[in-house]
């Protein structure tokens, strides 16, 4: 299942990656290779460096040393070539409070370079996929619950159909049906050939995807055991 990315290079390749948050080395020399179509579960205690690793792969954190290549591009020199093909779901939603759900998702769809017609089609489809009711679409984001905002945030990423998903605690703030939607979303993405790096403390949920488990502690990879959690089958 795990193949090579189009031009024959891994989707993510980190070599001795060091990243600082202020003066603190959040990543202290990470080596990690992720092949196309893999689901990688990042686990580790709070402060281990999982979020920084995901942000590094998104090009939002600059490596202090080492090399970082994503989708075959050097992230220091070619960030813009990579970013439109990567989706990062972080702790924040990336939504404008005063715009409606529909306006937010459509804006991000257009910002991703899609035409107005495509934006309308994909926005409708993504909002439906995320289980957001018709009534919510015209509401300003600041009137939504945390879970509804999370769903809208995911919809804004789904429309871009990225090749690499970076998910930081994707089940946070979501109720049971929302968590099921996220699981389905990840399954669909993998089935479509995307690669997923997910940081989650909810190991049972991610186990169903049969991920390769990578444990991080103190800013370095301490264990890379392959598909081991719960013995679930890959989607």
């Amino acid at each position: 299942m795990a193949g090579r990315y189009r031009d024959g290079v891994p989707v993510v390749e980190l070599r001795g990656a060091v990243a600082l948050l202020g003066n603190f080395p959040a990543l202290a020399g990470v080596d990690l290779t992720v092949e196309s179509g893999e689901v990688v579960l990042l686990r580790g205690p709070n402060g281990a460096g999982k979020t920084t690793l995901l942000r590094l792969c998104a090009g939002l954190v600059r490596p202090e040393s080492g090399s970082v290549e994503v989708l075959g591009h050097d992230l220091v020199r070619e960030r813009r070539s990579v970013r439109r093909r990567v989706a990062l779901l972080g702790h924040a939603t990336g939504l404008y409070d005063d715009l409606t759900v529909n306006q937010n998702v459509r804006f991000w769809t257009r910002a991703a370079g899609l035409s107005a017609v495509e934006a309308i089609e994909r926005t409708a489809s993504a909002l439906l996929r995320m289980g957001l009711s018709e009534r919510l679409l015209g509401q300003p984001v600041h009137t939504l619950s945390a879970g509804q905002r999370r769903r809208a945030s995911l919809a804004a990423l789904v429309v871009r159909r990225p090749g690499l998903w970076l998910l930081d605690e994707p089940h946070a703030s979501l109720d049971q049906s929302g968590r099921d939607v996220v699981d389905g979303l990840v399954g669909d993405a993998v089935a479509a050939g995307a690669t997923v790096l997910v940081s989650s403390h909810e190991l049972e949920r991610v186990a169903g995807l049969g991920p390769r488990v990578v444990t991080i502690s103190g800013g370095v990879v301490v264990d890379d055991t392959g598909p081991a959690v719960g013995g679930g089958s890959r989607v």
Partner: protein
């Protein structure tokens, strides 16, 4: 050609978004414009002047009111990109930083034009001024608006990046806008017939300031939002 169209489309997308947010939140209409009018009225009280004195200083008071109010609009514009991860989302979107800059500056410019129109009405009603050269008034008002919007957007991004936007922005921005204040005041002096100066020469200075602020802003905005 298609690259240029795409670039302008991206800038238009950002401008439309900022204006839509402003339309929904009504911060400029409900807070910035009343603030500007209040400044104009308070100047009148402070000077305790008859209409002749107010007319003499009307241009300077107008542009001080515009600049103080512009600080609020610029701060609001910069703050949009600091809420709930929107700046990270913009970086991830792949929008060209120059298009982002031009879009945001355009939205601020539109708001400043609204502000200028309302304040001009205030000058006509409260200070009893008369417009003797409408074309000069229009051109200098537009060019000064471009310069303030472009410099404001640039320094708004700079102050946001430094994390001290609310307190530092006026200190950073107002000295930079001093030439615009002087040029716009002189041009308006001529347009309103209050002082005999060559308003069109000062309008040339405004054009240079607008051009420099726009070009520099478009070139360095990427660095400011990335680092």
């Amino acid at each position: 050609m298609s690259e240029v169209r795409r670039f302008l489309g991206d800038a238009g997308l950002v401008a439309a978004r900022d204006l839509r947010i402003e339309f929904r939140s009504r911060v400029v209409v409900g807070q910035v414009v009343p603030f500007a009018l209040l400044v104009l009225v308070l100047f009148g009280f402070a000077l305790d002047a008859d209409h002749r004195t107010l007319r003499m200083f009307a241009s300077g008071l107008f542009w001080v009111a515009v600049l103080l109010s512009a600080l609020l609009a610029v701060h609001r514009s910069a703050a949009l990109e600091l809420s709930d991860g929107t700046l990270d989302a913009l970086r991830m979107s792949g929008l060209p930083p120059a298009a982002l800059f031009l879009g945001k500056a355009t939205a601020v410019f539109v708001q400043l034009m609204l502000l200028e129109v309302v304040l001009l009405g205030g000058l006509l009603v409260l200070y009893g001024v008369q417009v003797v050269d409408p074309m000069l008034l229009l051109v200098s008002g537009l060019l000064a608006g471009v310069a303030v919007a472009a410099a404001g957007t640039l320094y708004g991004a700079l102050a946001s990046g430094l994390g001290v936007r609310e307190t530092l922005l006026p200190i950073l921005l107002l000295p930079v806008l001093a030439p615009v204040l002087i040029g716009a005041t002189r041009a308006f002096d001529d347009a309103l017939g209050s002082v005999a100066v060559d308003g069109w020469a000062w309008t040339g200075l405004l054009a240079v300031a607008a051009l420099i602020a726009t070009v520099v802003g478009a070139l360095v905005h990427g660095v400011l939002i990335e680092d």
